[in-house]
């Protein structure tokens, strides 16, 4: 489920990725990753990874339980970058190597 909320001003250059990658649940992020091409993920990764630490610090200025809407969107984009890093950095393919048809569903996690 994508949303129309926007990223913070300082990260507006990442806005083209927001619609695809600001996804509320791990289920959606995993699904998006495993149905994306490596080229799509590489493009997202190369634009965002150099600014990851800056993005974490930006989010970290706000209390975890009172994140403004735009900061929540940035946090979701960070979660997707973590997901995409599994493909880009580790496996060099969308799904884990040799995972075959295995499925593991995350049924509970904290929010945001």
């Amino acid at each position: 489920m994508s949303t129309t909320a926007r990223l913070p001003e300082e990260f507006s250059d990442l806005e083209p990725f927001a619609e695809t990658w600001c996804l509320a649940t791990e289920d959606e992020r995993f699904e998006r990753r495993t149905t994306s091409s490596m080229e799509e993920m590489q493009a997202f990764y190369e634009c965002f990874f150099p600014r990851l630490e800056e993005a974490i610090e930006y989010c970290d200025k706000h209390p975890l339980d009172r994140l403004p809407q735009d900061v929540q969107q940035l946090l979701l984009l960070i979660y997707s970058l973590i997901m995409v890093a599994m493909s880009v950095e580790i496996f060099r393919q969308p799904r884990a190597v040799d995972a075959a048809d295995a499925v593991l569903v995350r049924t509970k996690d904290p929010r945001p």
Binding site: D60, I82, A100, V105, R106, P110
Partner: protein
């Protein structure tokens, strides 16, 4: 190799002479007949870990657990006094499944003041007593006090809720767990309440899946990606620092420098950027000495201890977070895997991100195990070979299958039957 001292007998396996050193059979993991025996000999007699106290936070909180292998469903509830109780999930009136939400075969959880049967509206208190019968006057000699929910033995250790389906359990939970497992007393599970829960239906026998989590011998071959390519050694092996057995339970501990104390090429960029990864957050709020029982081999530098609680539970303790697995048999060739990561609740966004990274990486490598073991199951079912060698690094696999066999043999003996 040979970095960690072995027992005086020369190997971990020979340290426990009852295990032998010969090849073993995995017929116990493919035979439908053996699976039928496991239902009775193991799952209807052992203490089974069905949840944690955080799953029933207040009076009236409940969850149901489908114990397919034991052909029953149980309700676990925190009663009005705050005690945790378990009942068979069946209405005493016409045998309807008492608690379910959208579909009777699916587990559910929630909060209530009474359990109300969907069929004819009978109601039960949180203590299981029959509280209300619709048109009670129409019944004959109805003895309400004797028509409470059928209780299931239930006890709690270290916040882990266990049930026992036997009429009379042979041992208390604490006796069953024994000194090695209860050596974890004092580990702060109760503070690590931020949970990431996972469920997967896997195409392998429950024991074959558990086997992959009680040895690290497979890690360099199946999970080479755990080590970044720049420092990956294709010929690398893996040697554990300590193995220990106590009754039906097992523990293995690893040693080694913390990943983040090594040069950056030993980590993936995402790990460096987030200060978390394969082995969890680099720093956690609860740092401090572990209870001595968490590291029974006094391994230094300590990596992780991996406790296998018979029959189907595993708890992996790190300094500052833990992982908890359950393997629930659903047929001779399938099981439901439940995995949970527990952390100190994040107080900042950065900490939450650290937990997310650890949870995402955990899933990737668990998927490799689950994918491959479907292949093990298929191959074993067709195998012309019936005996397989195990190395010393696989001593716990050897012990696990032996204990399962011993429990089935004991069941036969008690019934005056010959073994399979």
């Amino acid at each position: 190799m040979g970095r960690w001292p072995k027992p005086p007998e020369g190997s971990w396996t020979e340290h426990y002479p009852e295990l032998g050193t010969g090849p073993i059979s995995f017929e116990d993991s493919v035979s439908p007949e053996f699976y039928e025996l496991e239902r009775e000999a193991i799952f209807k007699r052992a203490w089974l870990n069905v949840g944690r106290v955080e799953d029933v936070p207040r009076s009236g909180s409940y969850f149901t657990k489908e114990l397919v292998v034991a052909r029953t469903s149980v309700i676990v509830v925190r009663d009005g006094e705050g005690a945790i109780r378990a009942f068979h999930n069946i209405c005493r009136h016409r045998g309807n499944k008492l608690v379910w939400s959208d579909f009777p075969r699916e587990e559910t959880q929630g909060f209530c003041r009474q359990f109300t049967c969907k069929y004819h509206g009978w109601r039960y208190g949180l203590d299981g007593s029959l509280a209300f019968v619709q048109q009670e006057g129409e019944f004959f000699d109805l003895d309400k006090p004797s028509l409470g929910l059928k209780p299931v033995h239930c006890d709690v250790w270290a916040g882990f809720i266990f049930v026992n389906l036997a009429e009379v359990p042979r041992e208390t939970l604490r006796e069953f767990l024994g000194p090695m497992v209860t050596g974890l007393d004092g580990y702060p599970f109760g503070e690590m309440t931020e949970r990431y829960d996972f469920v997967g239906d896997n195409n392998s026998n429950w024991k074959l899946f558990a086997d992959a989590f009680q040895e690290y011998y497979h890690v360099p071959a199946l999970h080479p990606q755990q080590v970044p390519p720049a420092v990956r050694n294709p010929g690398a092996g893996f040697e554990c620092a300590h193995f220990q057995i106590d009754g039906p339970h097992r523990v293995v501990s690893t040693a080694g420098a913390r990943r983040w104390t090594l040069a950056p090429e030993h980590m993936y960029p995402i790990e460096v950027a987030t200060r978390s990864g394969m082995v969890g957050p680099w720093h956690t709020p609860g740092e401090g000495p572990l209870p001595p029982g968490a590291n029974p081999g006094r391994v230094e530098p300590f990596g992780i201890s991996n406790f296998q609680i018979f029959p189907n539970v595993e708890i992996l303790v790190y300094e500052g977070w833990y992982i908890w697995y359950r393997y629930w048999p659903t047929s001779p060739s399938t099981h439901r895997f439940e995995g949970t990561l527990g952390f100190y609740p994040a107080t900042t966004v950065r900490e939450r991100i650290e937990h997310e990274v650890a949870s995402v990486m955990f899933k990737e490598f668990a998927l490799q195990d689950a994918g491959m073991l479907g292949g093990t199951q298929t191959a074993l079912e067709m195998s012309p070979v019936k005996e397989f060698p195990l190395g010393d690094q696989e001593v716990l696999v050897r012990h696990f299958h032996k204990v399962v066999g011993d429990w089935v043999d004991a069941y036969h003996r008690e019934r005056g039957e010959a073994g399979p």
